[in-house]
Amino acid sequence: MELLIALLGGTLRISTPILLAALGETIIERAGILNLGIEGTLLLSAFSGFVVAQLSGSLWLGLGAAVLTGVLLGLLMGFLSVTLKLNQHVAGLGITLLASGLALYAFRLLYGGSSTPPALEGSFTQFQPLHGTPLGPLFRQYGLTYLALLLVPLTGWLLTRTAFGLRLRAVGENPEAADIAGVNVAAVRYRALALGGALMGLAGAFLSLAQLGAFAHGMVSGRGWVAIALVIFGHWQPSKVLGGALLFGFLQALQLRLQAEGVNLPYEALLALPYLVTILILALTGRNTAYPKALLKPYYREGA
């Protein structure tokens, strides 16, 4: 029982950045944009959050910087894919390459080639509401984890119960219909990208300001790509995306535990386990028709 609770606590912690990133990607994809810049956005916002926190001594300023980074990269994606109407795959991958390169380059400039990355003096601490009770380890979480869980129903509400969400989904399903109804398609897409980017920024901040308290090159390690897979797995619905994120987090926590227990398996196999299961589930859920119908399609007004 104790073991299970520890495992679930780990699950929530590990799920947090992936959940935040996947919710951001969900919002963006529901507006018809596939943002492959997600992986680079996570790294650069983790970095900018770290640098600002370190230089200013304020974790909150760092958090703000990370969110701002996410928003700006979202707007850049908007400029490339909405204004210039470039291929979204190319634009997104370009942003990932640019943002990753920028983060690593600036890291070198600021901290030289030191092999031991500088750490923050103090990182975000965890809440411990039920400390001392058996459930304590489950609830001992960072504030961002609670925020991420709260954002699941909030995102769902935004998408289905507000005028903004209605317009956003219309733009992602049939931008022409939205345009004819007087909705500014480009503006809605930019807003979705900024909002989604902010959530990705939070995810990056979680990595460097909370979980690790430091910055390292490989710290994102494919979480952005996993988030994209989870959006597909979750049928573009926040609640199902949560399910996917928790499953992935659980497998990750489990494999860490198995490694620690010294299970007689090569550790590479254990490392690969969550990813393999992700691929397997995606393959098994089969062809998915729930995707936003205007995904990947730049909008051209006819005759304009």
Partner: protein, 512 residues
């Protein structure tokens, strides 16, 4: 008609697209409570004019007035704000949204949406105009006629005073059309000004009070409907007198082809796609010298039937036999080799835009112009030139096919399909979107094929075309055949009922 001040007035409106003059100094007024028909052939400038009214196209020269005030629409939002609504031929609906969500999109009224309140609001409006829509239903589940009413409701919700309808009856069954006319009358009673864009003369006479005829971008005539005639309008529209193509009166199928092997036999054909039945047990024969028409509302399995009969789809069950020989291998090559000529539904997918006219013309027989893997371009060009002359294609052999007009593209496809004297011609929507001249040409060619002894299968959404060309008419409904008639036995009304899946009007009232 009491001519009060016009709701909207266009003065000297001109619009160019590059060298093309789409609208040339058009001046026209629109009045409250009046149905105005905007009549013209394809390319006459009707669509451009309607897009100008709806702010989708900007005016190059001229002025537009709403209630006497000069206005300039920069986007549909501007037009909507001035009370203009537009129902396009291609519906702009979000299929995954409910009726209510589609209707309020863009004018939600509040940042947070309350589903119940929205649905009540939309439900009330639907009732007021007699549209009979269920606000909570998903639009993707509605019939075409219902979707059109959703579009109308959308426009009305925007408090529109001028409603533009682009080819509103093109996709409707005759029964849906009757209902649609009823809706129009309600709109008119409520003081809405309606503009109908169409090229169907019968429709103009039936519902409009005034007609404006466009030709080559110019307004060539304005008439009060009850003071004009179809003949006069047709003359104005085309600029010359037209003769419609009709099948030659033939002695009834006295040559009862019971013993003759049919050129094409389809028996109990089945095809389903991802669990949905597209073709469910279709059987018919096509004989030499015969035109068999397949009528139906789009999406009832006609496209799939054509795909199977040209080797693009493999049926799940059933037999297709060409001249008595059963087809085992469903590939386009098999059908080509066995003498099936095809005129595909989407003509722009039937050509390769980047290839030349000559290459497109001879795409299906390139192997006969190939020597040791080398294409004999000169022979290709010579052959293409004879085809271009024979079919009156307005292009040179080396022009890129994508630069051609729809009518000329269709002529390329005709020339290609008919070049090898096919035994069976499968023609899917052969005149869709073509103007009167090109339509007559294509229909004449199809009848020529039948006269030559080929069997022609004509699949068309245009009931009129089916009625005029076919010796026999089959009606497709939900993947099956819901009716079979010989020429002269059927009229638009009976076919319309079959297209809607009803055998007789009375049947609807028979208690189960």
């Amino acid at each position: 008609m009491t001519q009060a001040a016009p709701l909207i007035r266009l003065e000297g409106v001109t619009k160019r697209f590059g060298p093309l003059l789409a609208n040339d100094a058009v001046s026209l007024s629109f009045y409250e409570g009046e149905v105005l028909a905007l009549l013209g052939e394809n390319g006459a400038g009707k669509s451009t004019l309607s897009k100008i009214l709806f702010g989708m196209v900007k005016i190059d020269e001229g002025q537009m007035f709403v209630s006497g005030q000069p206005v300039r629409f920069r986007s549909p939002a501007d037009a909507i704000a001035h009370g203009v609504g537009f129902v396009s031929q291609h519906f702009s609906l979000v299929p995954t949204f409910t009726v209510a969500e589609n209707v309020v999109l863009g004018r939600e009224g509040s940042a947070v949406l309350t589903r119940g309140k929205l649905e009540r609001r939309v439900g009330n409006l639907s009732e007021r105009f007699g549209l009979g829509l269920e606000p909570g239903q998903l639009v993707g589940e509605l019939s075409v006629g219902e979707q059109q009413r959703v579009e109308i409701l959308k426009a009305l919700c925007g408090r529109c005073r001028l409603l533009i309808l682009d080819e509103p009856t093109a996709v409707l069954t005759p029964q849906d059309t009757a209902r649609f006319f009823g809706v129009l009358r309600t709109l008119q009673e409520q003081g809405v000004s309606v503009v109908i864009i169409t090229h169907k003369l019968g429709e103009v006479m039936a519902i409009s009070q005034r007609v404006a005829v466009l030709r080559l971008g110019r307004l060539v005539g304005e008439r009060v409907t009850h003071e004009t005639s179809e003949a006069e309008l047709a003359h104005l529209m085309v600029g010359r007198d037209t003769a419609q193509v009709t099948r030659p009166a033939r002695s009834a199928p006295a040559t009862a082809p019971t013993k003759v092997t049919p050129l094409l036999r389809v028996a109990d054909l089945h095809y389903s796609d991802r669990g949905r039945t597209r073709i469910g047990g279709v059987s018919f024969d096509l004989h030499a010298g015969e035109v068999v028409g397949i009528a139906g509302v789009a999406g009832n399995g006609q496209s799939e039937l054509v795909a199977v009969l040209t080797g693009m789809l493999k049926p799940d069950a059933g037999v297709v036999a060409l001249s008595g020989e059963q087809v085992a291998d469903f590939t386009p090559n098999t059908f080509l080799a066995r003498g099936v000529g095809r005129i595909p539904e989407d003509r722009f997918r039937g050509i390769v835009g980047e290839l030349s006219v000559a290459e497109n013309l001879l795409l299906e027989q390139l192997s006969s112009f190939t020597r040791a893997g080398h294409l004999d371009r000169r022979a290709l060009k010579r052959k293409a030139e004879t085809m271009i002359t024979a079919y009156g294609i307005k292009a040179r052999p080396n022009d890129r096919a994508r630069t051609l007009s729809g009518g000329n593209v269709q002529k390329i496809i005709l020339a290609r399909a008919l070049a090898r004297d096919p035994k069976v011609v499968i023609a899917a929507q052969p005149t869709r979107g073509l103007d009167v001249g090109a339509t007559a040409y294509v229909q004449g060619k199809l009848l020529e094929q039948a006269a030559r002894g080929a069997g022609v299968l004509l699949v068309s959404d245009d009931l009129d075309e089916i009625l005029r060309l076919s010796d026999r008419i089959l009606v497709m409904f939900r993947g099956g055949l819901s009716g079979s008639f010989s020429a002269g036995e059927a009229d638009a009304d009976t076919l319309g009922l079959r297209m809607a899946g009803r055998a007789e009007p009375e049947e609807a009232h028979v208690p189960a």
